[in-house]
């Protein structure tokens, strides 16, 4: 990464979006290198959104795994099933995303095993926030999350970003797609929506992302959590897996 001449221009491998990562390296004499990496994760090309309805929550995400400007894969599942009644959607650095969601999933199942009762969605979201906040000042996980779950039939959706900001929301979105999704949710979301109504809103959002975003992801996966548990609800594809 660093050449012998002492002039250092470090380009980190840009996993998610060339627009989102700015890497600036300053050099000084000697071997002191000040390395600043701005990773504004608020604007990744990854798309993640969640909408709560009457007794259920839907979480959707794109299924692209990108390396630099190349799409390596279009069948990546970014929505982790934490337990029977909890979903965790995650977007961000590929490794961090998988590592962190698996870590949370393992800890939730350890809690349930030890104590004989599972954590509520609220507790799970707060636990996740705590882990993210602790990691933030060490080796942060660069991923944005949505946590959704059902407790005694009551749905809840939590927005959680890589800086460990936690909010309970009716609907939420991460990444560039949030710019379009949020305004659509603002306009169209009402309390007590049915699955059909929510899926209409999802399709509206995906259509807008595809119409507006220069590098829109081709495929989306939509999962649902309701009184019957978690499952895949729908797929929206324009590219086939090769």
């Amino acid at each position: 990464m660093i050449d012998d001449a002492g002039v250092h221009v470090i380009l980190t491998s840009i996993h998610n979006s060339p627009l989102a990562l700015f890497c600036i390296t300053f050099f000084t004499t000697g071997n002191f290198v000040l390395f600043l990496r701005f990773n504004y994760l608020g604007s990744t090309m990854d798309c993640l959104f969640g909408i709560s309805g009457d007794g259920f929550v839907v979480i959707g995400a794109d299924t692209s795994a990108n390396q630099s400007i190349v799409r390596m894969k279009t069948g990546e599942d970014k929505i982790c099933e934490l337990d029977q009644y909890k979903l965790m959607g995650a977007v961000g650095d590929g490794g961090d995303r998988v590592q962190f969601t698996e870590f949370v999933k393992a800890n939730l199942s350890l809690y349930a095993f030890r104590n004989g009762v599972p954590l509520s969605t609220h507790a799970a979201a707060n636990y996740t926030r705590g882990e993210l906040a602790t990691a933030l000042r060490k080796g942060p996980y660069n991923c944005n999350l949505l946590v959704a779950g059902i407790d005694d039939g009551q749905p809840s959706l939590y927005f959680l970003d890589y800086l460990a900001t936690l909010h309970k929301m009716n609907c939420a979105a991460h990444g560039y797609c949030a710019m379009f999704m949020n305004s659509l949710f603002d306009k169209h979301w009402v309390p007590g929506m049915s699955v059909e109504e929510v899926m209409k809103l999802v399709d509206l959002g995906i259509a807008e992302v595809r119409a507006r975003l220069v590098v829109a992801p081709p495929n989306f996966l939509i999962k649902i959590v309701d009184k019957d548990g978690v499952r895949v609800l729908a797929e929206r594809k324009t590219a086939t897996e090769n």
Partner: protein, 228 residues
């Protein structure tokens, strides 16, 4: 274990509407100023309280550990700690001191009274070995055998809060050495829920306690009368 069977008794009774705890205040000397507030009842968190029998100094250490654990849980999960988890946490600590030589175990038995969303109102008893169990009605400390046999006789499945209150007082009345109960000889507290669902820990004041004790004394006297 030996120390605890001499310590002032503590009794707990579980009902559908709440849990009642009562404890005997041992009067060592008439010169000793009895504490105005509780000395054997501790609030561990908003939703859980404990009564102690044994070495008070040891109890303070464990009470502190319990309060810390409850707050840590609240910090991590933003939810109150389930009662059994708190009890288990404390018993794990106690068990640790039975495992290795060189250190003395905590000479304390606890009664935990609390409410959580999983199992509602709960009453737990723990001993110095680290054993614990959930009870409908139980007693620790001096004369706990006698106390438990009264509880076994008088406990009903659908006992009301009022009846539970009377029962604990009756038990203490029979197991304590003194002839008549007075407010300065015992502590009484309850864990209930208010109309909004909030858990309320209430310590009975002397004014609240006196009529209950007078009624208990009268009932005991009446029972004596009829048996003789």
């Amino acid at each position: 274990m030996e120390a605890i069977s001499h310590a002032g008794a503590a009794v707990g009774v579980l009902s559908k509407e709440g849990v009642v705890l009562a404890a005997e205040k041992k009067i060592m000397s008439k010169l000793l100023e009895t504490s105005k507030t509780t000395e054997k009842m501790y609030k561990l968190d908003e939703h859980i309280a404990a009564a102690v029998a044994g070495i008070t100094a040891d109890a303070n250490i464990l009470i502190n550990a319990a309060r810390l654990a409850a707050q840590r849980y609240m910090f991590t999960y933003d939810e109150p700690m389930p009662c059994e988890q708190l009890c288990q946490h404390l018993c794990d600590t106690k068990q640790g001191y039975t495992q290795f030589g060189g250190l003395r175990p905590f000479g304390v038995s606890f009664l935990f009274a609390g409410w959580d969303k999983h199992f509602g109102f709960q009453l737990y008893q723990s001993d110095p070995s680290g054993n614990y169990g959930g009870w409908k009605a139980t007693a620790i400390g001096a004369n706990n055998q006698a106390a438990q046999s009264i509880l076994r006789q008088d406990y009903k499945e659908d006992i009301s809060m009022d009846e539970a209150l009377k029962l604990v007082v009756k038990v203490l009345n029979k197991t304590m050495d003194s002839t008549a109960l007075t407010a300065d000889k015992l502590e009484l507290s309850s864990v209930t829920r208010d109309a909004s669902g909030k858990v309320v820990y209430h310590v009975y004041t002397e004014e609240e306690l006196t009529p209950i004790l007078e009624a208990a004394n009268a009932a005991a006297a009446a029972a004596e009368e009829s048996s003789s």
